[in-house]
């Protein structure tokens, strides 16, 4: 918090929370620690890697963060893949004045947004899979598969993952650079499943 405040001394910090692998509980040996920072009166977004301790800060102005949570069309799809990262995620810092906004995204009915989210996810990852290419971010497809399965049977959207999924994700993160066709095929199957759910 001190580090961010020193960089943005004239901006009020609205929230800081863990994101990426930390949020989903799948920290691998080579994982960075990712944090989302929301600032008041800041325009746009910035990515600040802090190389000395492996921490990365994804800094958003209030409006830009809301756009991300609302799947705004102007944003690159990449930023609309993880709007559920706040669910059950206790922030490291949350300004009182921002609590209502943050909580509203934590507690929103996922059924209202799941199809939009799936559409973004399918579009984004299909782009790479069409080229037969694996990217590190594709581990999200494993967690989404479990989340969507649970959602369709219970109506609950949580970030909890089974040990089996966590292990699968960690193995994938360590091996995605090998560009195995088996993974490409597996992800294509997951995409097909997500399409079915989206179109149901």
């Amino acid at each position: 918090m001190e580090y961010i405040q020193s960089l943005f001394s004239s901006n009020k910090i609205l929230t800081i929370y863990r994101a990426g692998s930390c949020a989903y509980g799948v920290i691998g040996s080579a994982s960075d620690e990712d944090f989302v920072v929301v600032l008041d009166e800041f325009s746009g977004m910035m990515h600040i890697p802090k190389n000395d301790d492996g921490k990365e800060y994804f800094v958003f102005g209030r409006q830009e963060w809301i756009k991300k949570m609302e799947f705004d069309e102007g944003l690159a799809t990449y930023f609309k893949l993880f709007p559920d990262e706040v669910i059950g995620n206790i922030p490291l810092y949350l300004d009182e004045g921002f609590e209502g906004v943050y909580t509203s995204y934590q507690t929103r009915e996922w059924v209202l947004v799941i199809k939009v989210q799936l559409s973004e996810i399918i579009n984004f990852f299909s782009l790479y899979l069409e080229d037969g290419i694996l990217t590190k971010l594709m581990w999200h497809l494993f967690r989404l598969e479990e989340q969507v399965l649970r959602f369709t049977s219970t109506g609950l959207w949580t970030l909890d993952l089974s040990n089996e999924s966590k292990e699968k994700i960690l193995i994938y993160k360590d091996n995605y650079r090998l560009q195995s066709q088996d993974y490409v095929d597996e992800f294509k199957h997951i995409i097909e499943y997500l399409k079915e759910v989206m179109n149901s």
Binding site: G44, M45, D72, G74, A76, T77, Y78, K136
Partner: protein, 264 residues
């Protein structure tokens, strides 16, 4: 005797001494026609004869003048492949022009190293095929030409210029796809660590990043400002050759990639 005077008053200069010097001057070219002198031993065929025009040939630095319209007769005795060649023999200190033929392919020529030893060197002047009724000169065949210094320099200049133009400077890449407003490129034939990338956005912003940056990490973000708002540019490199580029706000036309330049 361990040493021998050559270019001194009263000393004996042997033909091998001169030959060695010319061999060196001609860039240690084994044998060839000296370019620019007379008609460079140009050949023509007609009336069962091959005619060689005037020129000078150097074989391991030994100079031979071929006089105007030197002719060699070809006997039309069947289908064969042949050479007209100049033979230099340091065994008996002779030169001659002759032919050698073979039934199935162009025959081999004897080519001893006359700099290091005594022997025979057969230098091809022309190549031909014949039948029982015709003689055809192989006009595609090129004998070795010993070029002048300025010619060699000029040729080297052209070669270097061509090399520089094809290996350095800027190249502009066209994306093979822009699905989801993500520009996808194939980058091959360049050394990433030695290049500088310039990505132009539609709004005129130029984002410059070294190839070394993308060769180290699969996904790199570069922050940029436009009209007092912060954005970032995402560079995703999937080795060995695929590059994905897009801005955090690629939904807006102005922030989409319009051009990718690679400066080498």
């Amino acid at each position: 005797m361990a040493i021998r005077k050559i270019t001194f008053d009263g000393s004996e200069v042997k033909s091998k001494d001169d030959a060695d010097l010319y061999y060196h001057i001609f860039g240690l070219t084994t044998a060839g026609i000296i370019a620019g002198l007379y008609n460079e031993c140009a050949v023509s065929a007609g009336n069962n004869q091959i005619t060689i025009s005037k020129g000078v040939i150097a074989v391991y630095g030994r100079m031979i003048l071929v006089e105007t319209n030197t002719q060699v007769s070809i006997t039309l005795d069947g289908s064969k492949y042949g050479y007209v060649y100049l033979q230099v023999s340091t065994l008996d200190n002779s030169v001659s022009i002759s032919t050698i033929e073979s039934l199935t392919a162009y025959p081999s020529l004897t080519q001893n190293n006359l700099h290091s030893t005594s022997g025979i060197y057969q230098f091809p002047l022309a190549r031909y095929t014949k039948t029982a009724t015709s003689l055809t000169l192989d006009t595609s065949y090129q004998t070795t030409l010993i070029k002048t210094g300025p010619t060699l320099i000029s040729e080297m200049q052209t070669t270097i210029q061509s090399y520089i133009e094809s290996n350095f400077g800027v190249i502009t890449l066209t994306p093979y796809s822009t699905a989801s407003n993500i520009s996808r490129y194939e980058i091959t034939g360049i050394t990433l660590a030695k290049c500088l990338f310039v990505s132009r956005l539609n709004n005129g912003t130029s984002i410059i990043f070294p190839g070394r940056t993308i060769s180290r990490a699969s996904l790199t973000n570069i922050s940029y400002q436009y009209l007092q708002t912060n954005y970032y540019f995402i560079i995703e490199y999937i080795g060995p050759s695929t590059l994905y580029l897009y801005s955090s706000n690629n939904g807006e036309v102005g922030h989409r990639v319009s051009q990718l330049q690679i400066w080498r």
